[in-house]
Point group: C2
Chain length 705, copies 2
């Protein structure tokens, strides 16, 4: 099934053992990155130019990790686990992709293999900028741009896109290569000095294809702009009005008053380091470790509530965004933003007072650049508390006494920019034992030119001459559970009407049944039977009601991938066809779409692992939770899109003995310090309103707040 053809290499292993003992889950330190690169470089002749794609922690095998964490939690001496890094690199300007594992504890490169053919690595920041330039500097491209007769001083922009595979000419050398499809835009020619002018409002129909190995344009595509697949030669471009998102281009609202969050006694959470680059968070009975890597960005490990184990590891595992336009070259658009680019490396430096309110703690990270040097990623995670309304309330109507608590949440947020689009990614913890994963999709729609006056059923015209094509966002959250122990199962609950009989003579009764998932595979929601998936430890039962302890998975429904089952979109996005996948745990199975998604061809992700048909009942399992939206663009999503919010929740079911938030202190005025708007900031002005016949019909109380 594996499409990775591994070519063993037996190169001499060099490097020296370092004295630093790190926690096995601690992200690589700067010196570990430097050392990893040094050890890789030492494998090759001195003048070899290596393009490092990824230098990241090779997480330990679970068989080693579990006893380590157990010892750590028990305050016992921890076993020694050797530190390893996972390195992906090209010999620069070739298609020679390598994958290596470096043992940092003994300074040895343990494995180093060339991958391929047809295995390609992610884009990196340096490469993006170079490809942009190559596409625009090409003489052929310049000649085509000239035909547009753009105004003097106009600035053309190039957005390189990952070149999705389509199964056509698979074995021809040119198509088996790693390629980038560049989409071109012009910045508003009437305002060319504005570097933040929204070029997505002015898409061009010229699309160069660049080979990053040769750094040459290999082909120039012309984009279809009509109702069919026909293409036209570039012709003089009609400059439309701009459509800007920057504030200085707006007539800003003047009536929005400040809303500040103050935490006079500081935050309720504590942050410590469990390793040089790894952070441990403690908040309201929760404890967990936070890692950060090039691909997934934030990763949570070793999540406990009130000392009870819940999850070994939580992370966004993958995402895929297939587009609806079937015409060449748009049919290739199916981004895997994590595998093709990286949620870690694309993370924003979050700015105080801009991305969160209140008392904010930032985590920074260290990743690598293409030279193998450490790359500082400041403030890539912000941690703050938020108030999410009422947590619970009950009023005893006999006594009039209300008992009420507010719903404080802890948020770990990271924001990634992938060219035009933004994703705001957050883990959110509640005081009631719930952990949520929230995605906010925002940023700018991917646009393409469309002839004026036409419409097509696979996209929305969002500006004159601008089409935003329908697309799906399909995410996969990887949940590696340890509910009260390593061996868990997945069950699904369904509610069914009771038959009409002597016991149910009125036809109103219903029951809830529970079915265990025994075999690895993909499973789906069904609202007609209220099907609900739960992760359960069948060996541990609730002391009050005897039910196995469980967490339920609350994931919103979504339309599964629309591309047909024989399409490359479908083959590649191995997670996009089911709400839930359950697999047996295997070391290294971290990414639902496979390890190498760029121009991937399928067969290396969760669907393939599930096809092992492993027993997953009361085993060490992994649960993959898919969610997403079919984004049919509204014109209101342009020039920048109001956040579309999608949320997954993991919620205790008979795991505790009571409402876990029962002990949250009551919501009271001495604590909350709310103020009466009508007292503190309001002038009351009486206004007599005159009726039809001139009489004063009523006196209005107009409150200026």
């Amino acid at each position: 099934m594996a499409s990775l053809e591994q070519i063993s290499t037996s190169l001499p292993l060099v490097g020296a053992k370092k004295g630093i003992q790190q926690h096995p889950l601690g992200p690589l330190t700067a010196s570990e990155i430097t050392e990893s690169a040094r050890l890789i470089r030492a494998l090759w002749p001195a003048n070899t130019n290596i393009q490092f794609k990824v230098i990241t922690l090779q997480e330990p095998n679970k068989a080693d990790l579990v006893p380590f964490l157990a010892a750590e939690h028990n305050g016992q001496p921890t076993p020694i686990i050797e530190r390893r890094s996972f390195v992906v690199y090209y010999l620069r300007n070739t298609d020679k992709l390598h994958e290596a594992i470096v043992n940092l504890s003994n300074g040895k490169v343990e494995t180093n293999v060339r991958l391929g053919p047809n295995v390609h690595s992610n884009i990196d920041g340096e490469e993006i900028l170079t490809i942009e330039k190559i596409a625009l500097a090409d003489e052929g491209v310049k000649a085509e741009i000239a035909k547009l007769q753009l105004p003097e001083g106009a600035v053309v922009i190039s957005d390189p896109w990952i070149y999705g595979s389509d199964g056509i000419n698979d074995d021809l050398f040119t198509d088996a290569k790693r390629l980038f499809q560049c989409f071109l835009y012009v910045r508003d020619p009437n305002n060319p000095s504005e570097a933040d002018s929204n070029h997505y409002a002015m898409p061009l129909s010229i699309s160069p294809v660049v080979d990053p190995a040769t750094m040459k344009v290999t082909r120039i595509d012309f984009l279809p702009t009509g109702v069919d697949a026909s293409i036209k030669e570039p012709s003089p471009y009609k400059v439309q009005q701009p459509n800007e998102y920057i504030p200085e281009a707006q007539d800003l609202r003047k009536d929005l008053k400040p809303l500040n969050v103050t935490q006079p006694e500081g935050t309720s959470f504590q942050v410590s380091n469990f390793s040089e680059q790894g952070h441990e968070i403690a908040w309201q009975k929760w404890t967990f470790k936070v890692g950060f890597n090039q691909r997934e960005g934030m990763v949570l490990y070793d999540v406990h509530y009130a000392g009870r184990p819940l999850f070994y590891r939580l992370s966004l595992s993958d995402m895929n965004i297939p587009y609806a336009d079937p015409r060449h070259p748009f049919h290739k658009k199916a981004a895997f933003d994590l595998g093709d680019a990286g949620a870690g490396i694309m993370a924003n430096n979050l700015e105080l007072g801009c991305d969160c309110l209140g008392s904010i703690h930032y985590l920074s990270a260290i990743l690598n650049d293409d030279k193998g040097e450490p790359l500082n990623m400041p403030n890539v995670v912000c941690i703050h508390e938020q108030d999410n309304g009422i947590g619970w309330k009950h009023t005893n109507y006999r006594t009039g006494r209300a008992a009420i608590v507010r719903n404080r949440e802890l948020v770990l947020q990271s924001i990634i920019t992938v060219a035009n689009y933004e994703y705001i990614l957050a883990f959110i913890f509640s005081q009631a034992g719930e952990v949520m994963y929230e995605v906010r999709a925002t940023g700018i729609l991917s646009t393409q030119p469309i002839d004026e006056g036409i419409s097509v059923p696979w996209g929305t015209v969002v500006h004159p001459g601008v089409l935003a094509v329908h697309h799906q966002h399909i995410f996969s959250l990887r949940v590696d559970p340890m509910l009260d122990g390593s061996l868990n199962r997945v069950v699904y609950e369904e509610a069914h009407p009771m038959p009409r009989d002597d016991f149910n003579p009125h036809g109103v009764g219903y029951t809830v049944s529970e079915t265990p998932v025994t075999t690895s595979g993909g499973y789906d929601l069904d609202y007609d039977v209220n099907r609900t998936f739960k992760i359960q430890n069948s060996a541990v039962t609730n002391p009050v009601n005897g039910k196995p302890v469980a967490y339920k998975i609350m994931a919103p429904p979504f339309q599964k991938m629309l591309a047909d089952k024989d399409s490359f979109h479908f083959k590649r996005a191995e997670f996009a066809d089911h709400n839930i996948y359950v697999t047996s745990y295997q070391d290294g199975e971290l990414y639902a779409g496979g390890k190498y998604t760029n121009q991937s061809r399928g067969g290396t992700g969760v669907r393939s692992w599930a096809d092992r048909k492993d027993n997953v009942k009361d085993e060490d399992i992994v649960v993959w939770v898919q969610f997403g939206i079919n984004h049919v663009p509204r014109i209101e999503d342009f020039p920048v899109m109001p956040c579309e919010i999608i949320k997954v929740s993991l919620k205790p079911v008979n795991f505790f003995e009571k409402n876990p938030a029962l002990d949250v202190p009551p919501s009271v005025q001495t604590f909350n310090k709310s103020v009466l708007a009508s007292v503190s900031h309001q002038q009351e002005v009486g206004e007599a309103v005159i009726g039809k016949s001139g009489e004063v019909c009523c006196v209005k109380e107009s409150r200026k707040l």
Copy 2:
């Protein structure tokens, strides 16, 4: 179809015209309530004891209202619309239910009809308390309680429940009567002086049935407590440990720091009165009127954004909560909290610093008591702004410049207590033209006794001897639209794969189609085709893309009513079988389950109206949006339930020309005043961690925040 048999009465009309001109949508004033009651009392002999159930605004016919609102918005003289009240009353201690319309402008009772048979009105506050006492004072009930041998000083509590109809003995006088089923509980006998002890943790098996006309116990039921329908004679009660929700019974968390919302320049909204009891809100381009009535609580009228009409009227129209236990008398449990009790009359007095954060404005209301006197309902609506994270963001990766706005929302919140349960009901407005309706279900599960050591598939044991039965919450939001005008339609969008052909050779294309709803009826979501309902004005098109202006309805899916189609639960909850109902507008069709839900028998709600098969394409239509949850109780939902949040959203689609929140001022530090937790409130403490062999393996930075 109508089950209301209207008995005309021709009683003399009395009363004097009053000089007060009120806005036609203004809730009744105290004097209008008093006057309405006076006019009704004057119909009857002087010593007639009238039990007023409802005295509320009879909203004007739409044919009259529309020109009034148009004139008001244009600043023209408004036509005179006579003020009317709608009055429902019993001749006290009889089953003689009357419905009257009082013309307050001319002081005449315009109609006064006796309803029935089999039409029953809502419970009222005075009645609840009286029935509680009657049930407990009954000698037969006392004798049964004595058999429990409760400890001396123990306090028994009675919760009267609406007595759902079941079609059994329909025509027998006793079952056609209005009745209350009382469920009994004991407060913790070891702490009998604690009036807020949670009696729902100690349910008893004795259940008296009370006739509110005679105020006598007509029957004593015994509750089945085993796995079948058999019942047992009361026997000595085993006192279990209590399960309290009040804070003094908890070991409260000590590590939660205050989080305050401050609005140093006050709020961004303005509140004025459009009538003595009616309020108009202006906030961030939104304007709307707020009414409040006994049944629906908050009602919004005349909702505009940036001067463009959106909705005539928005309100929670109905809710139904059918339970899963098929055994007598539980099979009758199917509460209609609005029609059986009233979301207005059950509304909490919201307390500063307890229910919302920040600068709060409260609205108070005036309803009526059972004597026909005005009843002050202070602080039943709280209005405040909240920050809901990031509104939109884009970073230009070329320049590094981020443009970002926060997502400020306006919240109008009301909280109702219906015996054990609470609903937190809120309209939420966004700066991007979106209006949301949010329900938070909280409070205490309805409980019943269960024998120890058993479990049943229709409920969850949440405490020793306590069963919380599965139940559905099904809500109906009534949306009366006027998107850019009165004539609207509902359409649904679906996304379908393109066939594989020359145009779609790779099998990846998909299209979105739109189908208008032409005939009134019930319609359903289908996630497999991404079916999305939109309200549209086909006569007004978007100037940029030519699409009809629309708002889409984002409602989460839910399991439809499980009770079978022949059951009384199904017949009564006429909205519970479809996600969306579309009907033609008819005056007076406000409540999806019908006007009189108490012991209703169906045929008077939205399903019946939809059965007219009216044309609803480009007509004055009403859209009924159903949503809900199948609540399979967790033990974590007891003794008080963490909020379960359900949200419906009405969202512009091609209604505006751009993102309506584009003009929100950028999120900046000078405005937000966030602070760095690590700077302001953190002491950094180095901790050397010793490794296995005694060496210092790493230095931890422990941050005390």
